[in-house]
Symmetry: C2
């Protein structure tokens, strides 16, 4: 709980303690059956299928494996292995005992996994169906809300509910509120009533209020669930005969000073509060054919580097709270990166190529909502092109060296950046715009000028003139400018930086995702932090004690 023991996000079905994954032709069933004694940290029991970060790590792993290892699956039924209870939501004792950053990180990761489930339904032809064979409350119902179709057993006791407000004095904060009104279009006054009614709603009324899609009597339950799953599976465009690839164990070395994978390393500089991350470009040509891609599987550069980045982001976010600045570098051949991007685009009809791009998109979104300052350093030998240029575009600032480092390698080719086709559409941010569109919001001429140079290797002066980088200092100024930027960042209030970045990173339109991360999360952070929730007499601490919380009644 205190973060002293590091959280490892790597797992596989053979290690699951809380879920069972079964595949039966086009329908997979993911059964939640939480091991009460299996909390990720000591101090609480995971009763009533309540969850903690460990349960969610397994769920995320299952989502990923379904997409990559089980391409024949076209519908995923998520249900419970317990009697009468689907899922009671996040474990309250865990929340009550957790420090603030743990709660915030936990909620963020949980919601990202739900976004992954929504991606699978929307883009992967794997439609998720929530088969609520018992009560789904709080986060349990929020998990259901992430599914495309929600079925609730109609047995006079099973209900859906969001009891956070009445019972805990916090919000249904991992998307619950936003998904209720913005995704399912529950009328706002009904959402109000529903959120105040701790026992929730069931049966026909839950259907009439749009909280679930159907209520099914116990006698027909198994049959109708199967029927519905097959209907959803029938809509999928997934190939029937595809063979999955194995998400092989991620080779990772982790010390106090460094985290390293095959293509990604992070040097942890605790004195400066910095993680220096380097991503290495492909070392070989792209595969010669689609078959060769499938043969490479998890070894294919884009997929490998995405998995490594994904794990690194989660590791640093959860385990290294005081490394407030991430410095992003790349190393390799820009042309190779663009070649891999092109290979993926050339085969966008292939399920695996499609999944890889979707995974990269989701991982870049995870970077966008990470509460760390991101600085990209574009130096000679780097490969900020196409998919890797997204790292610089996701950064809060980028510095591209003009010329070369005279004392290090006067003969080096100057650093370049290159816009490629993956920057022009397939990797939108959660606001629905590409990072280039977001960058040039309200300036279509600048956007067009940058797009026009697609494919060109742009030296610092050109990139600066086009607005693709923030600053383009030369050798003489580089060290000083970069050092000051990093030192300055470490001197600012970490909270204010989090708020600042959360606001200017997402200009332009808002979506369900930006609302959840930008609005709902911000309110929940505040509410979690206030004594009315987390103080000694707050609702989270008093839950289950039989005593009422003692609220400061001032409305703010």
């Amino acid at each position: 709980m205190t973060g002293e023991a590091r959280v490892d996000f790597r797992t596989h079905p053979g290690q699951y303690r809380h879920w069972r994954l079964g595949c039966d032709g086009p329908v997979a069933t993911l059964t939640m059956d939480v091991d009460e004694q299996g909390g990720i940290v000591p101090g609480y029991e995971l009763k009533l299928n309540s969850y903690d970060l460990g349960v969610d790590i397994e769920l995320y792993d299952a989502v990923q494996r379904l997409r990559f290892e089980h391409p024949g699956v076209r519908a995923v039924v998520v249900t419970s292995g317990k009697e009468k209870i689907f899922c009671a939501g996040a474990n309250i004792r865990m929340l009550a005992a957790s420090p603030h950053p743990w709660k915030v990180n936990f909620c963020k990761f949980t919601n990202e996994t739900r976004n992954g489930i929504e991606d699978a339904s929307a883009y992967s032809g794997q439609t998720w169906l929530a088969a609520l064979n018992g009560t789904a409350s709080g986060g349990g119902y929020e998990l259901a809300l992430a599914c495309e179709h929600i079925m609730l057993i109609d047995d006079r006791s099973s209900a859906v509910s969001l009891p956070e407000l009445p019972l805990l004095g916090v919000l249904p904060g991992t998307g619950g509120l936003t998904r209720v009104v913005d995704k399912r279009h529950v009328r706002r006054d009904r959402a109000d009533y529903f959120s105040t009614k701790s026992e929730g709603l069931s049966g026909k009324k839950a259907v009439a209020w749009r909280l679930v899609d159907e209520a099914v009597p116990r006698a027909q339950w198994n049959e109708v669930v199967r029927e519905r799953a097959e209907e959803l599976a029938g809509r999928s465009g997934r190939p029937a005969d595809a063979t999955g690839i194995e998400l092989t164990p991620l080779a990772k070395t982790r010390t106090d000073e460094e985290i390293s994978y095959g293509h990604v390393t992070a040097r942890l500089d605790r004195a400066r509060g910095v993680a220096e991350i380097t991503v290495t470009g492909p070392e070989a040509e792209p595969p010669a054919s689609l078959d060769a891609l499938h043969a490479q599987g998890a070894g294919f550069w884009t997929l490998a580097v995405t998995r490594e980045l994904d794990d690194l982001i989660l590791d640093l976010r959860t385990n290294e709270l005081e490394l407030g600045t991430w410095v992003l570098r790349t190393h390799g051949d820009p042309a190779s990166v663009l070649a891999y991007d092109q290979f993926l685009l050339d085969h966008h009809d292939d399920w695996l190529a499609g999944e890889i791009v979707l995974y990269l998109k989701r991982t870049l979104k995870r970077l966008d909502v990470t509460s760390r300052s991101l600085l990209a350093l574009i130096e000679p030998g780097s490969c900020f092109a196409g998919s890797l240029l997204e790292l610089a575009l996701a950064a809060d600032r980028s510095y591209q060296l003009s010329g070369v480092f005279e004392e290090i390698d006067p003969e080096a080719a100057p650093a370049t950046v290159a816009v490629g086709p993956l920057n022009l559409g397939p990797l939108p941010m959660s606001n629905g715009l590409t990072r280039l569109q977001t960058r040039f919001l309200g300036d279509p001429d600048a956007l067009a000028a940058a797009e026009k140079r697609s494919g060109d290797a742009l030296a610092a002066e050109d990139a600066d003139a086009l607005g693709l980088v923030t600053f383009a200092p030369d050798d003489i100024d580089w060290d000083e400018e970069v050092r000051i930027a990093i030192e300055e960042r470490a001197s600012f209030s970490p909270d204010a930086l989090t708020g600042l970045e959360a606001n200017y990173r997402f200009p332009g339109p808002e979506t369900l995702e930006t609302k959840i991360f930008g609005r709902l999360t911000a309110w929940q952070n505040w509410i979690f932090y206030r004594p009315n929730a987390s103080g000694p007499d707050g609702a989270l601490r008093k839950y289950g004690t039989g005593q009422r919380a003692d609220f400061d009644r001032k409305r703010v």
Copy 2:
């Protein structure tokens, strides 16, 4: 500061301590010249044209008087009466010493006034021009950002800046960040750099980065400001020969138990934490002509009731933090309300009729962002029709009595609600949708059905079936249902209610306004509350002491 002395939002130019308002034909000049000793509460000096709530109350009054009393004004120049400084923003010592709700309320009101300035530029033909004749920092620059055109004197010392992050460890939170990226389209990495640079930017660079529209040398300053103001004035469609109406002093009686005006009363029930608000409909027919409207001026029902509601909302929000639930009732003839609405629509080309509708729109938006639970009670004798139906649509829940109160008045006509033309467009919420559209988001059939009944007096059963009210209990259930709703509300965490309401009240699209209130404000609330800002070693407390803040470095 502690809220013990009540804040009064009523003022007039003869009382101003901090602003001078001068009109010269179509151009008005509003000069900020803050009285250092004129703080609204003791304990700080308002140096460098810094402001507190008292300064902002005068600004809001000036905005309103310009719109109603000076219809000939087509451009408003806001400038400073001090040497070298336009405005240093919100006073830091005031912020540091203020309790959390004061800070939050202050920021909300400040930003609402800026929205009013933006309304005047966008809809009233009174375009605001910021003539920054000295440095505009923090809230000073945020005030400029609310203006349509920003001019900065180019004198090698005057700059614009958002130094909140580096100096105070908080956000430029009254719209600054959002207006920089979403309104002025400053590139996000430049917004980052700008927000970390406490001295700000000036001259050509400030123009190139879109932070200001032009930088003008001191020698040409007065001439160019005048020229620009006349240009902006020239675009206005305001009538040249209009005569203003006087915003006469608001007659108000205020005790510990009751606030009452001509058409609005609020009974303050401290034991239950409730303000029982009753709005009375028009007692006479609408004016017979446009001339009669102008002759009535501030006495015209819609304007009078809007002014009273506006003042009441501000009073209760600021002075009555523990009255967490507002119960909204109306009393009068629904047909009369609809007749006044129709009168305004029939004369929508008239500047005064237009201003009244704009003012009502803004006041309803103020209600929407009020962090109090809103319950509408629709009883016999009420007049929730048209403009007053908006109160019920703004409420978190509405209860319409089915039938009558048998023991009170068995002969009464049952309560009705009526949709009118003012519900169908002229009074959008800050999300850009009407309250009806928001209510029926994603349900166009329900919206069409409700619109189709426009003009009909709808009894509880009909209103319930159409989805216009939340519940329609009868006489037998009414007392119990309403009592439970109110008692329950008082039992919930006030913080969680604030977050809940802030989220589900604004489904659908987001705009500059919803982003500022829903996202930026939420982050700022959290940041204000954290020890890194407000703790004994936080940045707000350490500002000006020569000591550095001591931050908890964990990123959350």
